[in-house]
């Protein structure tokens, strides 16, 4: 901020560079200084730190068996959590937009709870009710199914935190959808299922996929709720964000950085995919 202001003693010199800098509105100065310090610089520092490693070593750390297993657990579990929410989230959005029922506004508000509830609280309560003696965990425990402290627990936590993304992405698109086309399909003799698959689903698909991508990206990065509900055992239910944290705790900064850069790259790819999906859904609008 200071550097962009021309010094008072030089103010009279009409140096073109200084003239240019003096013309930059202060809103720009704040925006760019803030983003530079908080976003760009930290990302650059991490990439630079990882680039210090020779490529062979970088690759070996990034693809070590523990890391590979953590990627598999993270991405496959997050995919299933986001996918199941893709189905039920769309259903919830549909019910909220199209039907009137008692308590609808409450249902609508509850959807946002995972946005508002701190993740450590979510982890705490999920770990309690899904433990062997918990409210829901005890129902499946007799069948030998363990939810808390297992990979299913990670799935439950990821499902919790990713649900609102799907509902809130599909809901506005569904609200804007014209009912006349559906009614036309009905009046022409299409069944409810045919109308849904051929008339309603196509314009909704981009928004459902966007929601799933947003939910997936959130689930992949999740730490607070998953660290509490999982046992964090390598090869069993250790996810990548927790692996990074463990590396840091062991003062293995290089290991943490390398895996962190992998995660960052995946964040960029998700962001790009989400932007493309959003551009696609706007074309329907």
């Amino acid at each position: 901020m200071v550097t962009t202001k021309p010094r008072p003693d030089r103010k009279r010199q009409s140096n073109p560079v200084q003239k240019f800098l003096g013309k930059i509105p202060w809103t720009w100065v704040i925006t760019f200084t803030y983003l530079a310090f908080l976003v760009i610089l930290p990302i650059a520092a991490m990439i630079a730190k990882a680039a210090e490693e020779p490529f062979g070593k970088f690759w070996a750390t990034a693809t070590s068996p523990v890391a590979l297993s953590s990627y598999e657990i993270t991405f496959v579990t997050a995919f299933f959590a986001a996918a199941i929410n893709g189905i039920f989230g769309t259903l919830i959005a549909w019910v909220i937009v199209r039907y009137d029922f008692w308590g609808k506004r409450f249902v609508d508000a509850v959807v946002d709870l995972p946005f508002a509830l701190p993740t450590s609280v979510a982890g705490l309560t999920l770990a309690t009710i899904y433990s062997d003696k918990g409210l829901l965990g005890s129902l499946v425990a007799p069948f030998g199914i363990k939810i808390a402290f297992s990979r299913i627990g990670v799935f439950v936590a990821m499902t919790f935190i990713s649900l609102p993304f799907i509902v809130r992405t599909v809901q506005p698109v569904l609200t804007d959808l014209e009912k006349e086309i559906e009614e036309a399909a009905w009046s022409l003799g299409a069944s409810g299922l045919q109308t849904f698959i051929k008339v309603i689903l196509p314009p909704l698909t981009p928004s459902i996929l966007t929601g799933v991508a947003l939910g997936f990206s959130r689930a992949v990065g999740e730490y607070g709720s998953t660290v509490i509900i999982a046992s964090n055992t390598p090869f069993k239910d250790l996810i990548t964000p927790i692996l990074i944290f463990q590396r840091l705790e062991q003062y293995d900064y290089v290991g943490a950085t390398v895996i962190g850069v992998v995660m960052l790259g995946i964040s960029f790819i998700s962001l790009l995919a989400i932007n493309l999906l959003q551009a696609w859904s706007r074309r329907y609008g």
């Binding site: 202060w26 450590s120 982890g123 995660m263």
Partner: protein, 293 residues
């Protein structure tokens, strides 16, 4: 003419619930609503309600005892101070960024918007790691900070940086669409009448964006007070010093101090409920009038 009116009113009576007009499908809505509520109950409502059940199941005395603990009081104070500093910072940034983006046409606008959104896509753990790498002992600023005896990592400043980072995009995201929709006519009119920038900001812009801004503030606050991952990485988690409320919850749980964990958790859950109620109120104030116009 009378016939036309008649058919018109018939149609309008049918159209609010065309699904129910087909006798064959009359059960479908009920079944779908039941599935939706069951799923929401299982995934969100039961876990959330459980926080209150666990916290109050043994009466109020464990709660009262927990709130006598100094480490819990310190955690509450720390979380409140983090939010108290992060909120004004992110407000200034959010308003500046929203203004810069909506009141200028430039190339790379989409890129700038993506950069503002980045904190939402970066894992909180990675965010924390980046702060450690930048400000830690071996980081770019490490030697400078050490020479000047400024402790950032494993201390309050890094926790603040982490909090500001994760809660950064909310206000800009809420205000940008409002400024876009508002257009520049009112500002230009005020400017023609001789108002200066500050007058335009306070008398023209703020009244228009106030509900959206407040909504953004509510979301920023919820995230700032509730952040766990990023803060956890940079804090060192020392009780009474660098332990915020969400970290306290996890620590108590790990020490099998479940009662204390739930006493602290219920505070954060109350914060979430207040956030949702405010969100509901503000959403109606911001979005509904615009949608109907």
């Amino acid at each position: 003419m009378a016939k036309l009116d008649n058919s018109d009113s018939d149609y309008s009576q049918d159209s609010p619930a065309p699904i129910q007009s087909k006798a064959k499908k009359s059960f479908t809505p009920t079944i779908l609503i039941a599935i939706a509520i069951f799923y929401l109950g299982l995934v969100i409502l039961i876990p959330a309600a459980n926080v209150f059940v666990e916290a109050f199941s043994r009466g109020f005395s464990p709660l009262i005892n927990a709130f006598k603990r100094e480490d819990l009081i310190d955690a509450i104070k720390l979380t409140a101070s983090l939010a108290a500093i992060a909120l004004p910072l992110n407000t200034i940034f959010g308003l500046s960024a929203a203004w810069a983006i909506t009141r200028n046409n430039f190339r790379g606008k989409a890129l700038l918007l993506s950069i503002i959104d980045l904190p939402f896509s970066i894992s909180p753990v990675v965010a924390g790691l980046m702060i450690v790498l930048l400000y830690g002992r071996l980081g770019w600023f490490g030697s400078f900070l050490e020479a000047n005896n400024i402790k950032v990592v494993f201390a309050f400043p890094a926790m603040l940086l982490a909090t500001v980072f994760v809660s950064m995009p909310f206000i800009a995201r809420e205000v940008i669409p409002i400024l876009d929709e508002m257009g520049t006519e009112q500002e230009e009119a005020a400017s023609t009448l001789g108002a200066n920038d500050w007058q335009i900001f306070w008398k023209v812009v703020v009244p228009n964006i106030r509900w959206g801004l407040l909504y953004g503030l509510v979301l920023t606050n919820a995230r700032a007070m509730g952040e766990f991952g990023a803060v956890s990485v940079v804090s060192g988690n020392i009780a009474s010093k660098t332990q915020s409320l969400p970290l306290f919850v996890e620590e108590a749980y790990k020490n099998y101090d479940t009662e204390v964990a739930y006493s602290a958790a219920v505070l954060l859950a109350l914060l979430a409920v207040v956030t949702l109620v405010l969100k509901e109120i503000l959403e109606r104030k911001t979005h509904n009038p615009n949608e109907r116009e």
